[in-house]
Symmetry: C2
Subunit: 326 residues, 2 copies
């Protein structure tokens, strides 16, 4: 076991203990049971780890940023619950989603409750820059809402440009990863340059991460994925892959894709077909290239920080994301 | 026109201008259009007024608490959007609700966006006690979620005790009014005793306000009400009125009420019947007595503040709530 694995296992354990300790309240049961259910759903805790490792990478202590680390995990889980309602997803991490296990009202409310918990823990520790951190946090929450709104708008639009797609994922996914690394840097008392570098590191990590998500939807093992294979296609999500294939594919590829997209209902049997069309259009490689480019950019920003064990851990963190299979 | 009316008209105009100025962003249209729609729906702006008047009542300046005043209005409007989804209400303030005019996803998302705006403006102004204010705000948001969860749980429960009802409305309604008066007091640099008195003032105001809401659902003019008359009854809401009549009514009244509640669907034609049963059980007067008692308590707490024009304005504010017809 490497030192990195040892450290992240420790930190993940700490995060899980703290999260559990903050969810001991039982009543009203329809509010707190779904919150616990989602938080105990086996998340990877990537975002809190990012906060904690970023803090350590600038020489800060874990204690100073632990509340912020918990806050981003609460916020992330809030987005999962509400997004699953909007996307009508039935399965998440191999289990029923909240609105399926309970109902839509309970999903809305337990998501809202997680936002409250998120801010409560974020603001629980006094800090000279706490108002700034709260503002960054709120701007990010608003960006996440904007990103999700665009994602939904794109579903019913015929054409979405590549740059529109990137704006959407920057808001929906990268903004939060950028925030994690940034507030880790702020709470670790990093210099302005270090904080800026960490923010850009987190941002490109987030862009690469979302592109991977798009790719994994069609290339991953369904068992590992914990959700329905090809669900993006069935929902007509304007992923990078679909936009690329519709733009770069040859005439036959395009018309075959359009024919599938025009169907009343897209069945899972058509996902294999779409996957083949993506391969013909060179979409899989093109996506992988974009992923690599953003991971490289993330690495470059990270290396603006002076070399240290903390920075090395973030290097390993990045490596672990590069290799992820789900 | 009294000085009080002049001042509240000024303050309301200020709040409306500021709210409009914060909602100039156009895109994504499915996020910002519903937010604007709800904010421009002709709300009474009671909560921001309460913040501003409480601040002035302890000698503070409006500028110091204006961001907090806007924050509570955003938060209140968020609760309206999400509650309307959960309660499947079609009409609010005489207009279609967001999920009816658009859809459930857009209602969820624009509600979430209002929470983000709410915290953003709350934390926009630096203040020595900003972390504390943010924590109070978050605790209140969580309480509101708890109150709404209880309200929904009670709908499907056969019996709800009066004290359970009071816990529910304290969380759902009174907590936010208490917060408004409290943070007005904090930002106005009131003494601890003044802030505590203002908090209790707001709290009892909120309890009375919710009891009035329950009562108005059945005694108000539907046109003034801006929503369907008797909707609480049709939704089997465990209002104070229903709980009282089921407990205090005679055997005939109780069994007639139970018969209506056991129907598959409660039609509006049955509301008149229920109203009569409430009258027979003495429910209308009992509710009015509770309302009066909480308004009196609010007044007593208010009068712990030294006499001033600011305090007098809060007295008039209370009077205006006592008299409200919708």
């Amino acid at each position: 076991v490497s030192q990195f694995e040892k450290r992240t296992t420790e930190l993940k354990k700490l995060v899980n203990q703290q999260l559990a300790g903050m969810l001991t309240k039982k009543l009203p049961i329809t509010l707190y049971d779904p919150m616990r259910y989602v938080l105990q759903g086996g998340g990877k805790r990537l975002r809190p780890l990012l906060v904690l490792l970023a803090c350590e990478a600038v020489g800060g202590k874990v204690e100073s940023c632990l509340p912020a680390a918990l806050a981003v995990e609460f916020l992330h889980n809030f987005t999962l619950i509400h997004d699953d309602v909007m996307d009508q997803d039935d399965i998440r991490r191999g289990r029923l989603t909240v609105h399926k296990k309970w109902d839509v009202s309970i999903a809305i409310l337990s998501g809202d409750g997680l936002v409250a918990l998120s801010y409560r823990v974020l603001l629980s520790k006094s800090h000279p820059r706490i108002a700034e951190i709260g503002t960054l946090f709120s701007n990010t929450l608003l960006e996440i809402c904007e990103g999700q709104a665009l994602d939904k708008e794109f579903e019913t639009r015929k054409e979405v440009a590549v740059n529109e797609y990137f704006v959407m994922i920057q808001k929906k996914t990268a903004a939060l990863m950028a925030l994690c690394a940034q507030i880790g840097g702020i709470l670790g008392n990093g210099t302005d340059a270090e904080i800026e570098a960490l923010r850009s590191f987190g941002f490109h990590l987030g862009v690469a991460f979302q592109l991977q998500d798009d790719l994994l939807d069609i290339v991953a093992d369904e068992k590992l994925l914990g959700k329905t294979w090809g669900s993006d296609i069935m929902r007509r999500k304007k992923t990078f892959l679909l936009i690329h294939a519709l733009q770069q594919g040859d005439a036959t590829t395009k018309s075959q894709l359009q024919a599938i997209l025009q169907k009343e209902v897209i069945a899972q049997s058509q996902v294999e077909e779409v996957k083949k069309l993506f391969q013909v259009a060179g979409t899989i490689e093109a996506t992988q290239q974009h992923i690599n480019r953003h991971f490289d950019l993330a690495r470059q920003y990270l290396h603006r920080l002076p070399s240290s064990q903390g920075r090395q851990f973030l290097d390993r963190f990045l490596d672990s994301l590069v290799k992820r299979q789900y």
